[in-house]
């Protein structure tokens, strides 16, 4: 099951980190969600990738990412996947995404002085060109709108209004009033292939996994660089590409689950 974005990353312009962001978007689109890995060697690759993620994250935030981590591989069915989801959702003292990954992203962006609002102040391509095109960093909606194009299918039929949308395919953010908001999200109908009683778990897991891709993109935007070498989120999201789904069982214990 591959998600669709509705645009070609290669046609998008994301500023100084364009090549890196395109690459991340391409890998994101390549994830075959909840499909078994095609070959066994992926297992070694996933563990290596996860350890690489931890090491790179630790360079930036040693207090959040331990030196020694236990990474186990686990292969099972949907019931096992759901059980792991239940287990980590029941944690009350540890939340990997909020306690570690979001902190890592937040501190990195802050250290580099990056935030959505400031980025939005910079002239964007659509402010300097006659016609909007794919891949603008920002769409503008609201009182500060520069153009009114309508919003995809349904909205295009509407008359321009205060909140008439300017979203273009490939936009990562939208500006509404004086605020800027993320907008990118893959589209995938999990109910087609995931067992009915597991859909909610799959949706829950995927929403957080997608957030890792967003952290990965924000890292590059903050770096303003095409070099992906130091991005700790890249090896993490590549675990998804490899067909392995990380679960944090504790601060230093992780399971890479794959569906048999």
């Amino acid at each position: 099951m591959k998600a669709t974005f509705g645009f070609d990353p290669a046609a998008c312009d994301y500023g100084p980190a364009t090549a890196a962001v395109r690459s991340i978007l391409t890998e994101w689109a390549a994830v075959d969600w909840f499909s078994p890995p095609r070959t066994d060697p992926h297992q070694d690759l996933a563990v290596q990738l996860f350890r690489e993620h931890n090491e790179k994250a630790r360079v930036h935030q040693p207090d959040l990412f331990p030196v020694n981590i236990e990474v186990q591989q686990q292969r099972g069915d949907w019931e096992g996947f759901g059980a792991l989801c239940k287990q980590v959702r029941a944690h009350t003292d540890w939340d990997w995404k909020f306690s570690a990954l979001k902190q890592l992203s937040h501190r990195h962006s802050k250290a580099l002085g990056w935030n959505l609002k400031d980025q939005g102040r910079r002239p964007q391509p659509h402010e300097t060109r006659d016609a909007p095109h794919t891949g603008h960093l920002f769409a503008r909606i609201g009182a500060h709108a520069l153009k009114t194009l309508g919003w995809k299918m349904k909205a295009q039929a509407r008359q321009p209004q205060e909140f008439g949308a300017l979203l273009q395919p490939g936009d990562l953010f939208a500006r509404v009033g004086d605020g800027a908001f993320w907008t990118i999200s893959p589209q995938l109908n999990l109910s087609d292939t995931v067992p009915g009683d597991q859909v909610e778990f799959a949706q829950w897991y995927m929403s957080y996994a997608n957030m890792d891709f967003i952290e990965c993109i924000e890292w590059q935007l903050a770096e303003k660089s095409d070099s992906l070498d130091a991005n700790p989120f890249l090896p993490l999201v590549r675990c998804y590409v490899a067909g392995f789904y990380p679960f944090s069982l504790g601060r230093s214990a992780f399971s890479l689950y794959t569906l048999a």
Binding site: F5, W151, V176
Partner: protein, 124 residues
């Protein structure tokens, strides 16, 4: 991009689901809503920032963004979809967000299937 499903907003259906009486009597704690504790805290803080006053959508957005920033490190707010009255802005994890209504700012939830339901009111 905003999920296509989130764009399938049915305002008529929303209006049917909204009970004005229910909205006016709701608690500002949002604890009665079937949303996560994290979302409850975010919307309660945003509502407190608005101090129960009638506000325009931009003010509500600012309060929501500030609440997310204060309560969630690297918290992000997303454009989830739009309505004829304006965009739905909120959490991509839960689908819970705010949207301008005819007479106030509403708290809504965009389901995975694209249906949007009104949960309550953020401000008058």
């Amino acid at each position: 991009m905003a999920p296509a499903s989130a764009l399938d907003f049915q305002w008529d259906r929303l209006e049917q689901l909204v009970s004005r009486d229910r909205l006016q009597t709701q608690s500002a704690s949002f604890s009665h809503l079937r949303i996560s504790h994290r979302d409850q805290r975010v919307f309660a803080l945003a509502a407190r920032k608005l101090d129960g006053e009638a506000v325009d959508f931009n003010e509500a957005l600012r309060a929501l963004r500030e609440a997310v920033d204060e309560l969630i490190p690297a918290g992000r707010t997303f454009l989830l979809g739009d309505t004829e009255f304006g965009p739905i802005i909120g959490s991509i994890i839960s689908g819970v967000g705010i949207v301008p209504g005819e007479d106030g700012v509403l708290v809504v939830q965009v389901g995975r299937n694209g249906h949007t339901t009104t949960l309550g009111r953020l401000s008058r």
